[in-house]
């Protein structure tokens, strides 16, 4: 506790770094997963290769991916872009299936009604399918957010500063306090992200909070 109070500023800035490294890939990953999930849902023959293929990406060990990124991207080993890109890969891996499932959860008769009223395919996607897929997509997003917060800490092994740095630091000095603070800070961050996703999802789906007649 004493150590924590003495290093408030340091822990705070590591937490901000951590949050940015976890959230940026979440947003980018979602933007990539939506069209991929749409393709998987729209064209049946693409579904298995797309979902299995992106799912496989998640099995690549994170440390290996962080080390490989500079070779692929031509970036420096300490560049945070490596972390962002690697986590984006994981986010896409988790979200493509979720987006496809979310779009598949939209009732067929609703889609038919939309088409029958002369709503074109593009408009139908944005105004009907995506809004109705939000609850399922948000559930997947919550898993990806927590997973990202946890995986970001591995990047400390490469020397990219975030909450994981507290683990390597504490380990190197055989000093428990920063490790405990790091764990708690990770949990708090994951919780905050989770609640934020729930709040946003609820805000954009007002129809789900309505009283259903008996």
């Amino acid at each position: 506790m004493k150590w924590f109070l003495g290093h408030l500023g340091q822990v705070g800035s590591l937490m901000v770094n951590h949050a940015v490294l976890a959230v940026a890939p979440l947003v980018i990953g979602l933007l990539l997963a939506v069209p991929l999930g749409w393709l998987a849902q729209r064209y049946r023959w693409l579904r298995t290769p797309l979902i299995a293929g992106t799912g496989l990406l998640y099995t690549i060990p994170s440390l290996a991916l962080f080390i490989l990124m500079p070779l692929v991207l031509g970036t420096g080993i300490l560049d945070p872009v490596n972390v962002v890109v690697a986590l984006t890969v994981y986010t896409v891996a988790l979200l493509v299936r979720t987006v496809a499932d979310g779009l598949a959860s939209v009732p067929q008769e609703v889609l038919q009604a939309a088409t029958a009223m002369g709503i074109g395919n593009v408009r139908r996607f944005w105004s009907v399918e995506l809004p109705l897929a939000v609850p399922v997509i948000a559930a997947g997003l919550r898993v990806a957010a927590v997973s990202n917060v946890s995986i970001v800490s591995v990047a400390a092994l490469l020397g990219i500063p975030q909450l994981g740095s507290l683990f390597t630091d504490g380990f190197a000095r055989a000093f428990l306090d920063p490790i405990v603070v790091g764990i708690i800070a990770c949990i708090v961050l994951a919780l905050v992200l989770d609640l934020a996703i729930i709040a946003i999802s609820r805000a954009v789906t007002p129809w789900r909070r309505t009283q259903v007649p008996a």
Binding site: E109, V110, Q112, A113, M117, G118, G120, V128, T210, P213
Partner: protein, 367 residues
């Protein structure tokens, strides 16, 4: 007018859903497509607004080949109602109804005013407009579905089993209101159902389709019931065809008898006196609307609603022979109750008198 000319739909697997269908749905009338599962009735309906493209043949609406029109523009000019409404769960009732007007570029205020107007037109409370579909009952959702289809005032409406997901009582209400609405609006309607009773009740003309999308018979409901073209149509129509056919025969002047009545709330002694030895006496309210039959011999005290026998149906003067006959057959006193348009008692009629009227009808089948 919607005209099918030799329309065929063959699916990639080689199944023929619709085979060489030619028929005309006249302007301002309800044409019902009815048949067993797999008869291609829904496929036929969806080819009209090109949700399904025909393999061959043409479909024209008022002389224009739909195949040459932009599908989305075509669809915005055709109202479409499906089972359980197909409402957008994430939009309020008003926004659901305003969908097509907004697509057509109406400004928001006008679209909403129109939606509000339609909500009342289909018999819903205006406060429901701000709710979401899951807050409405199945019957209410179905009404919203109809309102949404009517929103841009399209001349043509397609209805795909719109009333089959609700319970029988609500279904009958919806059917009656649909007929009332249609009598005001005069749309050109193609209506799909698997329920022959619904087809016969709603259709100005009924097209019976057999499996493989072939037209078995196209006729008015009365003609269909009295003169089925073949065994398939006869079997599909089912039993009691003679009786059901009477629904389309307007009752001629029937020999009505004056019926002694007692007011609800009268004493049983008064009722017995009025019955004058008859076992049953008809109970009415202040406006002479019949409420039910009472049996003074087994009652004591004052006649209240719980005492009434309610088995008897009530027919309207100038209504169908079927309604008049049923009123007589269902009445415990065997006297069928007839009322005027204000639901006020006119008199009673006995089954032999109705049968005599049926006997007096000319032989042969209606056109």
């Amino acid at each position: 007018m919607i005209r099918f000319t030799d329309v065929t739909k063959v699916y990639p697997g080689g199944t023929t859903a619709v085979g060489g269908l030619s028929l005309t749905a006249p302007t301002g009338q309800i044409t019902v497509l009815v048949g067993p599962s797999g008869c291609g009735k829904t496929t036929s309906l969806r080819m009209i607004n090109r949700m399904i493209e025909p393999t061959s043949g043409t479909i024209e609406i008022d002389g224009r080949d739909t195949g040459t029109l932009d599908p989305n523009e075509l669809r915005r000019g055709i109202g479409y109602v499906i089972q359980s409404g197909g409402l957008f769960p994430h939009r309020t009732i008003l926004d659901n109804i305003a969908t097509v007007p907004l697509l057509l570029g109406w400004d928001r205020a006008r679209a909403r005013a129109r939606a509000q107007d339609l909500l009342e037109r289909v018999g819903l409370d205006p406060v429901l407009g701000k709710r979401y579909p899951n807050q409405l009952s199945g019957g209410q959702q179905q009404r919203v579905g109809v309102a949404r289809a009517l929103a841009a005032d399209p001349p043509v409406m397609l209805m795909d089993e719109p009333f089959s997901a609700v319970d029988p009582v609500v279904r009958e209400q919806l059917q009656d209101e649909f007929l009332r609405l249609q009598s005001e609006l005069g749309k050109t309607i193609v209506f799909v159902t698997h329920d022959i009773d619904e087809a016969v009740k709603l259709g100005d003309q009924v097209a019976v389709l057999r499996v493989g999308g072939r037209l078995a018979q196209l006729a008015s409901p009365a003609k269909l019931l009295s003169d089925p073209h073949d065994d398939f149509v006869a079997d599909f129509l089912g039993r009691d065809r003679g009786y059901r056919g009477l629904a389309f025969a307007e009752a001629p002047e029937l020999p009505l008898r004056d019926e002694p009545v007692v007011l609800l709330g009268s004493s049983v002694e008064q009722a017995a006196a009025i019955a004058a030895g008859d076992r049953w006496v008809l109970v009415v309210d202040e406006a002479r609307a019949p409420l039910g039959w009472a049996e003074p011999g087994v009652l004591t005290g004052v006649i209240d609603r719980d005492h009434l026998h309610r088995g008897g149906t009530v027919a309207r003067v100038g209504g169908s022979l079927r309604a008049a006959l049923d009123a007589a057959l269902s009445s415990p006193s065997r006297r069928g109750v007839l009322v005027d348009d204000a639901d006020s008692l006119v008199g009673t009629v006995r089954a032999p008198d109705v049968l005599a009227a049926i006997e007096r009808r000319p032989d042969g089948v209606p056109a």
